[in-house]
Symmetry: C2
């Protein structure tokens, strides 16, 4: 395994000047439609502007079926220049050829698996820098399930569904921070994850909780999110919480938290990450 020696330089002044218009970020809650109307994948395809799509299967230990499924789905949407990015180990994240793959792409799509694999293999490597550069120069960053979680500042990596959160249950880790100030959770309603998302935001209400249902996504442009897909997006805002026992109670105690503001958004709804306010096109 090669030792990591190369570090990418920070963005140059020229690159900085190009960051006026960063690209869209598309975070998907998993199980997006791949052979019907493909509303979500189509939104990704349209934003590539004819550029190459890199399908990053890093989150999975068994990536082949993921790549083939997305290759076929995107081909049906007219995206034929699709290549795979996979790392067997973190050392490869320094590989010049891999970096070049992203450097000339129109976008990158992270498939599902384990978000900790993405963050631990790519976090703080030259490859991560290339991903941020791609975003800064207007490229598309998209991802489903683990590939959605890793876009957020903080990721949930463990927490039981199916029950009210116990204080000791939630495990978090830093994500790639492409969307700052948020914790994104996925397969949200399907796996009953409201408890663990509340547990996460209770730790520090600065972070906004975003729960994405399956076949549902937020398209983030600037700091404005727009919901697409067939399910809901749940926002939990602990900014006005009047009391929680997160710091006091025993680890196996039920999380008690008062005055959370919650929004459930459907397709077409919007949410402004700066003002923390929901909106609707009709308004």
């Amino acid at each position: 395994m090669p030792t990591r020696v190369i570090r990418s330089a920070p963005l140059s002044t020229k690159e900085q000047a190009m960051t006026d218009k960063p690209g869209p970020l598309i975070a998907i809650g998993g199980h997006e439609d791949k052979d019907g109307k493909r509303v979500i994948l189509k939104a990704v395809a349209e934003r590539l502007n004819g550029g190459r799509l890199v399908v990053a299967t890093v989150a999975s230990q068994n990536p082949e079926p993921y790549f083939e499924a997305y290759q076929a789905a995107f081909a049906a949407l007219g995206v034929r220049d699709v290549i795979e990015l996979y790392l067997d180990n973190r050392g490869q994240a320094d590989d010049e050829a891999m970096r070049a793959t992203i450097a000339d792409a129109g976008g990158i799509f992270f498939t599902g698996g384990d978000q900790l694999r993405i963050a631990s293999q790519i976090g703080d490597t030259p490859l991560e820098t290339e991903i941020h550069r791609l975003h800064a120069r207007g490229g598309v960053i998209a991802g489903t399930s683990a590939g959605a979680s890793m876009q957020s500042e903080v990721m949930l990596v463990y927490g039981s569904g199916r029950e009210t959160d116990r204080i000791g249950d939630v495990r978090m880790a830093p994500g790639l921070n492409l969307i700052s100030g948020v914790i994104i959770d996925q397969h949200f309603a399907e796996r009953g994850r409201i408890g663990r998302l509340l547990g996460a935001v209770a730790h520090n209400p600065r972070l906004l909780g975003i729960g994405l249902d399956e076949d549902t996504a937020i398209v983030v442009e600037g700091r404005l999110c727009t919901v697409i897909g067939s399910g809901g997006v749940t926002i939990v805002d602990a900014g006005h919480v009047s009391r929680s026992n997160i710091a006091e109670a025993r680890r196996d105690s039920v999380l008690s938290i008062h005055d959370v503001v919650m929004h459930v958004l459907g397709a077409g709804d919007r949410f402004d990450l700066e003002s923390r306010r929901p909106g609707h096109p009709a308004e």
Copy 2:
């Protein structure tokens, strides 16, 4: 099947005068501990003050195992005067002997099953009047699962868990209205029912949504709820909702609802149904 002819008289002036101190209502989210510390059943037992306990198995079409399990659990808590109340059909709710059973009881406990069986067999019968009388004169009204739902003003009788609520999904029906102004749902976190409870309160934000986890209960004294048991109680208050699409969108659309206030309460937490404010003994 006898035709129902007898109707109970409304409360007499003397009875009204005794209603200064109505009894406690205990609504349990299902699967309460029956052979361990029995925290919840003990709370029921203690409030009987030595009186007889009627175990109403009306919610089930197969009541025998329910009665035996509760008879044993309450016997272990020192409650030995336990009798069963069961109706094969609505006509029996006029039966003088059944009414007498409740008239001299210290409390009644409704076991689980289908809340619609309770409401459709007992609602608007002399037996229902006896239950309200029992409450008014200080007796205990308790129930688990269906027996919790039926205590509320409006019951959820159908609504899918596991996914964000669709507008056409929720079915509601009037409960026995022992706890007015609320919709109680049960098996709450375990069955992922936040979506359907939000759907229910969206219909009319006057009603407060209360989601009870399994082995968790609220003890309602006056209009003050206190949480007991091992899980959480989720309160959803739609009183400040700024927008919802409940009345506009297609029945299969995702419910979109903005600015719900949510509280998750653990054992010891309190909630005032009048002010709609949570509290904690330490405050």
